[in-house]
Subunit: 205 residues, 2 copies
């Protein structure tokens, strides 16, 4: 499970037709994990999109993770599911998906990181590290708290929130090995090059 | 599986604190099945509410069905799940919940009823039979089409949409054995009496 360059889809940044193609380019550029996230679609639409992405990720040997909807994760036979603090409790998620699938949990402060250490999760997301346009109401933790989170967590930490080419070095300097990006890849005119540049930074780090 | 008086919760008609109590009164009044439906809550909130309702329904020996969220249905160990045409496809739902749980599907026209005859469902909802305030954009099928649906369907049909004490007789006259109600029970000042009166109509029918 390599979560070092973890890309998350965004329905506002990709039209359905462009979604698979953009993810394909990001994978070609070196993305190591894909999360399908959609908030304003019907489950039927999500099922169709997630099935297409799952197929692509399977071909590329990259883990495919579904956000929030555990039923969708099982329905498309994803490699994992990612939930937030307001989603189904992680213990319930684990009962549904079993131990073969990856379970990730979003955390935004050290208290949640500490709690996650006692939960049946395979990794945690931590952030928002920087302000982000994708989730405008997200609490910003800052780089120092990320550093603490990485020390505190017994699970791999994926930094998330406003990370892009101009600030990824600061994330890497905290000791965090994994970054999740949305806009930095999917808003780019040239998804392939944008992903490659992030990848280079991670390799150097 | 007795779906004859099938009550569906509505987050706009019940505060969280009143929800379990209102369902308890409806069960005392003769409701034979309960569906938990919520569209604007977090999964965490739904998990809490659905767990409480499931416990109550189990005590009363009445099937408890979760709307839309198949993961929630599994998480709270409900007796069944109900999905619409825009939710996860019924085949995918069946793969997740297995054959022990009830699977219901909403239909709104005869073409969907015909299609449902070939799907792995245990019952269908049909409607909106009358105009309804709960789903203002719902297509109204009318009583005549319900009659056709009941003839056409190989599964039990649950009539839904705007059914109340003043029009339930017209539903019963079509040959339909099952009615689903939301407002007719949950908007009532006196939930117990409102349910009892509907129950009497069904018994006579």
């Amino acid at each position: 499970m390599d979560l070092s360059l973890y890309i998350i889809t965004d329905e506002n940044l990709t039209l359905e037709k462009g979604l698979v193609e953009k993810v394909r380019l990001a994978l070609e550029g070196g993305a190591t994990a894909v999360q399908y996230r959609a908030k304003n679609k019907t489950a039927k639409q999500m099922y169709r999109e997630a099935n297409a992405l799952r197929k692509l990720c399977r071909e590329k040997g990259v883990p495919f993770i579904v956000n929030d909807r555990v039923d969708l994760a099982v329905a498309v036979n994803s490699d994992g599911v990612h939930v937030g603090q307001e989603d189904l409790p992680v213990e319930a998620v684990r009962r549904i998906v079993g131990w073969e699938r990856i379970v990730g949990l979003s955390t935004k402060n050290l208290s949640q990181v500490r709690e996650a250490n006692g939960l049946p999760v395979d990794y945690i997301g931590f952030g928002s590290v920087f302000p982000t346009g994708t989730k405008e109401d997200a609490t910003v933790s800052g780089i120092e708290m990320l550093k603490e989170a990485v020390k505190l967590s017994i699970q791999p930490v994926v930094a998330i929130g406003g990370i892009n080419l101009s600030n990824i070095d600061r994330v890497i300097e905290t000791g965090c090995k994994n970054v999740a990006v949305v806009s930095a890849v999917f808003s780019a005119e040239d998804v392939l090059t944008a992903t490659k540049k992030l990848k280079e930074k991670l390799k150097k780090g």
